[in-house]
């Protein structure tokens, strides 16, 4: 096994996973919602990119211009219409999980209806080309994907750290009541954050369209992987999600090499159980207060 090669491949793929994970983490941090529909939103964008590619020859990176804004708006609309009803309810987190679960089922079914169960993927030229760097092959598609992810993550960081709404999102994430008392309109901020999380999912979807083949039921595997990353990183910590993504993607790469690609998702699932066993609060999380 070529260790540096596997390492590089893992890191590059990990970049994309990090992008995916950041969206779900953002949502969880701000609204304490475990968004089981995040995978299907990415899938939605992937199918969108596929459609744009096959009908109009849009390069997947070009499709970002379409998928990101439309997912942003779609996300805000969904949040505004579905979640307020649950706001005051007793078992808020349960209800929101179930709601996103239902949403995931509906969207999966609709995607299956319109696109059928055939495995799809976009196939731009760079999806199959590689760059030679010394002794190492770096697949172009994955490299571009990683670069795009880095750019988007930096943009996210800038949004959260340097804009007023970003501060409001951070505040709501850390202490919802406190945010209210300093004048943050937490429901409007939550809706916006949901939109941002969805936009990130949209971006990830566009990238996934050429990185993987997908079918309507694919999102469960994605969401299980993503959620495992988040638990590993420490729920709500974007930094943790990124580190977790890179770590596990590299590990999965080695597993794939050693045991075959079928088993690579297993890495994430086992990692989840291991983390729950030895450090349930995740790498960057805080121990639960009593």
């Amino acid at each position: 096994m070529n260790i540096p090669q596997t390492l590089i491949l893992g890191l590059v793929l990990g970049g994309v996973y990090a992008l995916m994970a950041s969206g779900v983490t953002l949502l969880f941090g701000v609204m304490r919602i475990v968004n089981l529909a995040h995978g299907v939103f990415m899938l939605l964008a992937a199918y969108g990119a596929f459609f744009l590619f096959t009908e109009w020859g849009f390069d997947p990176f070009l499709s970002l211009i379409v998928t990101m804004p439309s997912m942003f708006i779609f996300g805000m609309v969904i949040h505004r219409f579905l979640f307020p009803r649950l706001e005051g309810s007793d078992r808020y987190s349960e209800m929101t999980v179930l709601l996103t679960f239902g949403l995931a089922l509906v969207l999966e079914g609709l995607l299956g209806f319109f696109f059928t169960g055939i495995f799809r993927s976009t196939s731009p030229a760079y999806a199959t080309e590689s760059i030679l760097l010394g002794d190492l092959f770096i697949p172009k598609g994955q490299l571009y994907g990683a670069v795009a992810s880095v750019v988007l993550l930096l943009a996210l960081g800038a949004l959260l750290g340097y804009t007023k709404i970003g501060h409001a999102i951070q505040a709501t994430s850390q202490n919802r009541t406190a945010a209210q008392t300093v004048g943050v309109n937490v429901s409007r901020v939550s809706t916006f954050a949901f939109g941002v999380g969805m936009a990130l999912a949209g971006a990830a979807g566009s990238l996934m369209s050429y990185l993987f083949t997908f079918f309507p039921g694919q999102h469960w595997q994605w969401i299980a992987i993503l959620l495992s990353l988040i638990v590993l990183g420490g729920m709500g910590s974007i930094r943790g999600a990124i580190v977790g993504a890179l770590l596990l993607a590299v590990l999965a790469g080695f597993v794939s090499n050693a045991f075959g690609a079928t088993w690579s998702p297993m890495t994430f699932y086992l990692a989840l159980f291991v983390i729950l066993l030895i450090r349930p609060e995740g790498l960057f999380g805080e121990k639960e207060a009593v």
Partner: protein
């Protein structure tokens, strides 16, 4: 009259009324203190006025306008500020950032920055710890930060829920010094305070709540001296705190 509660009732979730047809009046510029046993509904009253909880019946008027059921950010714009019981800080943010969050509604950032300088000169202890995460401050310092943060927006009316809760006596003293300073700035204050002596010492007028209703009210020194109230709500003998 600044604030008026008129026959307000409220509770949590589907539960019973915690506040039961309560009426009270608050005049501008004075300092009020609410005392009473646990579960009397004191914190609930603050949450009601502060917009965290909506009233089930009755009305809340501020400067004559109905404000019951408004959101906290809307109330803040009108000048009503709630400083809830801890934890209410952004523990991972620095002291500076916490304070700047206090000025969230201030659209002119230079005004916010000026206020920040004012606050730092008023509270040198905070200036010292400017860049530290708020979670690393001591209990007393956190409470000071909390009050300072509320000041960033120059509220007309401030409600403070249990300012000295969990604080050592010295820290509690410091907090009450600040409350006295807030008084001198002309801010109308409504405190809920567990430590009855301190609360009544710093306030002009007191409300005694029990079972969600107002049982007594009057000038703080009278309430403090009243033997009936003492016996019912403060334990038999006056204690030195």
């Amino acid at each position: 009259m600044l604030l008026e509660l008129d026959n307000v009732s409220a509770g949590y979730g589907g539960g019973p009324d915690i506040v039961d047809e309560l009426s009270l009046e608050v005049e501008e510029g004075r300092t009020y203190c609410m005392i009473g046993p646990n579960g009397a509904g004191k914190s609930t009253v603050l949450k009601l006025i502060g917009g965290i909880l909506a009233p089930r019946s009755g009305s809340i008027g501020f400067h004559g306008h109905e404000v019951g059921g408004l959101r906290p950010d809307q109330l803040l714009q009108r000048g009503i500020c709630l400083v809830p019981q801890d934890p209410s800080l952004f523990t991972k943010m620095s002291v500076r950032k916490n304070l700047m969050m206090g000025a969230y509604l201030e659209s002119d950032r230079s005004v916010a920055r000026d206020r920040l300088d004012e606050i730092f000169s008023m509270f040198p202890i905070l200036a010292d710890k400017e860049r530290q995460p708020a979670g690393t401050l001591s209990g007393g310092q956190q409470q000071i930060l909390l009050l300072a943060r509320a000041l960033m927006i120059r509220p007309a009316f401030m409600m403070i829920d249990e300012p000295s809760l969990g604080l050592a006596p010295q820290a509690a003293d410091q907090v009450f010094e600040i409350i006295a300073e807030l008084k001198s700035l002309g801010i109308t204050l409504l405190l809920v305070e567990q430590s009855v002596e301190r609360g009544l010492a710093v306030s002009d007028w007191a409300f005694v709540l029990d079972l969600g209703q107002k049982r007594f009210e009057g000038p703080s020194d009278q309430i403090l001296a009243d033997p009936r109230i003492r016996e019912l709500y403060m334990g038999k003998a006056p204690t030195v705190e």
